[in-house]
């Protein structure tokens, strides 16, 4: 990259980055370091004593079947959310990218749910599926005889949070897929059409490979979203239940730390999650460097 003009000042740049750096250190590095530190201690929740116990918090965590259950649920949930929301969004982006009337109206209507809070998405679907007042729960009961109860049935619970989380994420994926599709050169498609390639072949052999960097980027972003940013949905809709059947990792960190005040274990879980996020981000960047396809 071409170097930008550089001012000769020596002190000014420090003043300029200072606000950002103070916040980075006070609210990122310091808490992250604290989490690592605390994860090696057994701590009295009401302050006071801390006993060094080395890796015991981690050992307890990794030998706890409940933790692995939570890991399993998080993975299943994330894969389902990523799959549903990406496939739907790609399909709709392909439709909206065709030369049709009202295309810009459709685009606007698909994009705005991005602005809906994850928590609000949870409330919307909770209201539709509430066993007492929900209109969909009512329809399921009276048309198909399905007694919807996400507070008792763990399959229903998982389905409901997947639905709410995917619904909210479609808009995000739609924006990126649409941008990806618009960057595919029209001449390539026309050439393929002249050669007699069917719509299906045009899509799978030309368009799909060309948007693979976008798809990969979105895959990682969707997994991160489902793993870390769906806390509001879980907290509002199922509270991790019934039992612990929808207690994903982020919800468990919160529950163990804030509700059960098991600070050592919560810290060990935080550190594990940080390593997980860092791994995902590194993976992301290695692939972006290689640009996946092209």
């Amino acid at each position: 990259m071409v170097k930008q003009y550089e001012f000769p000042n020596k002190e000014l740049p420090y003043l300029l980055v200072m606000p950002q750096m103070i916040i980075v250190f006070v609210f990122f590095f310091w808490p992250a370091a604290q989490a690592v530190w605390q994860s090696f201690f057994l701590q009295d929740p009401f302050g006071g004593r801390m006993i060094f116990i080395g890796f015991e918090n981690y050992l307890k965590l990794f030998t706890d079947p409940e933790y692995w259950d939570s890991f399993g649920i998080s993975s299943l949930f994330s894969v389902m959310v990523a799959f549903f929301s990406m496939v739907t969004a790609l399909f709709l982006a392909v439709q909206a990218n065709k030369k049709i009337r009202f295309a810009s109206f459709y685009k606007t209507m698909m994009i705005w749910p991005y602005a809906v809070a994850t928590m609000v998405a949870g409330v919307l679907w909770l209201f539709l599926f509430n066993p007492n007042v929900g209109i969909i729960a009512y329809a399921l009961k009276h048309s198909w005889g399905i007694e919807w109860s996400h507070l008792l049935n763990s399959k229903h619970a998982l389905l409901l949070i997947t639905l709410a989380a995917s619904w909210k994420q479609i808009a995000y994926n739609f924006v990126f897929f649409l941008a990806g599709l618009q960057s595919v050169p029209a001449t390539l498609i026309e050439a393929a059409a002249i050669d007699g390639a069917s719509h299906r072949r045009q899509f799978w052999q030309i368009i799909f490979p060309l948007i693979s960097p976008t798809s990969f980027y979105l895959l990682v972003m969707n997994l991160v979203y489902a793993f870390f940013e769906t806390f509001p949905i879980i907290h509002q809709v199922t509270e991790g239940g019934p039992g612990k059947s929808t207690s994903i990792l982020v919800y468990k960190v919160w529950r163990d730390g804030v509700v059960n005040l098991d600070l050592g274990s919560s810290a060990a879980q935080s550190v594990t999650l940080m390593i997980l996020v860092i791994a995902l981000t590194v993976l992301q960047f290695r692939f972006i460097e290689r640009k996946v396809n092209y």
């Binding site: 930008q4 439709q95 981000t281």
Partner: protein, 281 residues
Amino acid sequence: MTEHSKYHRIIPHVFLILAIFIVVFPIFVVFIASTHTSAEILSAPMPLTPGDKFIENYSRALLEGSENMGASAVTMIKNSLIMALGIAFGKIIISLLAAFAIVFFNFPLKKFCFWSIFITLMLPVEVRIMPTYKIISDLGLLNTYSGLILPMVVSATAVFLFRQFFMTIPKEIVEASQIDGASPMRFFFKILIPMTRTPIAAMFVIQFIYGWNQYLWPLLITTKENYYTLLIGINRMLSGADVQIEWQIVMATTLLALIPPVVVVMIMQKQFVSGMTDTEK
């Protein structure tokens, strides 16, 4: 060039209209519910046409709030707005300054600063809640606006977006300003900021929505009702037995929480889309 059969022209419309229906349906139901009495909502099935309690429900939601909670939507809208604007402006200002330093100056700790900011991209609030909570409580910032805003203000994405944009500014413009004898800060305010209008607008949309929709953080640090944001208020109204929930008030408040960010996206759709897809790289 390709087929123009009727079938191929209609199919995309069918799918897109269906998709829009699925997107809009939950919000439609919420709106309907917010215009009825509690009893009408509880009588299954709930009506699907608007009721006549629109003004009554919304004025109660706005001025009094639900019975099991002492905060009105007006207070909560104010809190959400302060938090969203604080986060959006805070992020934009400190990121502009940091990106300016990183692109236009050469200083020994430049690399270090850059990477320190970059790594924050990898540490979502969700994974460091307990220690951050402790710091805020040690600083005495629980139940304050600063406590709500400050930990959310760091933004690697904004720094990157501005950095990328600053790199594309022709050197000649900077050199010309130097010949005219402008100081770096004068250049920053008089030339750079006006040129950066579009990325700033894009960042504003994204960060306003991000701030408005924050949930976990305010949930942790607001225990007093007069600091509740809308989303926390909705959660509190819903945490009770089903019979006590005043659905009509909850639904009115939900719509109030949903409208501002949606309006911002719709008005600034173009900037928003370009801002989102630009930070990807």
